[in-house]
């Protein structure tokens, strides 16, 4: 157990509404990541963070923003949700002592209607 929680675990929202997903870790690791999982695509990186207020884009960052004001929390925001953002979202961390292994949260299933 890597001490990662995600909230909410499930959410249904309407097109055009803002949505924020939260990733929380209890072990003060520096690196955190947001991925989305879609059939036929595996997992794809949206954004990542390498410290408080330090974030960068991944390969599918359009339509998403992130924030990290505290070490333990990494927020993913969909400013105006679209149906193409219906997906399962995973948060991941790298343990500082095992810098090459990512550990994942339980995922959030988001449906945009």
């Amino acid at each position: 157990d890597a001490g990662i929680t995600q909230s909410p675990r499930h959410k249904v929202t309407e097109t055009g509404t803002p949505v924020t997903l939260r990733c929380h870790q209890t072990e003060n690791h520096r690196y955190m990541y947001w991925y989305r999982q879609d059939p036929g695509h595996g997992l794809r990186l949206i954004h990542y963070s390498y410290g408080v207020k330090d974030t960068d884009k991944g390969e599918v960052s359009d339509g998403y923003s992130v924030s990290r004001s505290k070490t333990e929390d990494f927020l993913l925001t969909l400013e105006s949700a679209t149906s193409s953002q219906t997906s399962v979202y995973f948060c991941a961390i790298i343990r500082d002592s095992l810098f090459y292994e990512q550990y994942f949260g339980p995922g959030t299933r988001l449906t945009v209607t």
Partner: protein, 117 residues
Amino acid sequence: AQTVTQSQPEMSVQEAETVTLSCTYDTSESNYYLFWYKQPPSRQMILVIRQEAYKQQNATENRFSVNFQKAAKSFSLKISDSQLGDTAMYFCAFMKFRTGTASKLTFGTGTRLQVTL
């Protein structure tokens, strides 16, 4: 950019038998890691095994082992003595490594493995 290819969308194996899942990758990097992740119906992503590119010896974790062919850019996963609990989606993943930078994973599209009685 790196790419990871899993050419077997679905596979099936009988309990107690051995199965091999294929993965190929494309990269110009010399320092990298390869992983297999398991995703059971619970949706949790579970790290199964890791291989460092600089190591010639194939990694082994209990019933799971890999065949790492660096020149061929191939990284297959062998599951021995398959169990019903091995039923899951399996993802191959690549991570290039550079000191001081965030290590990002590139995933394949997955292979769905069904273990049958």
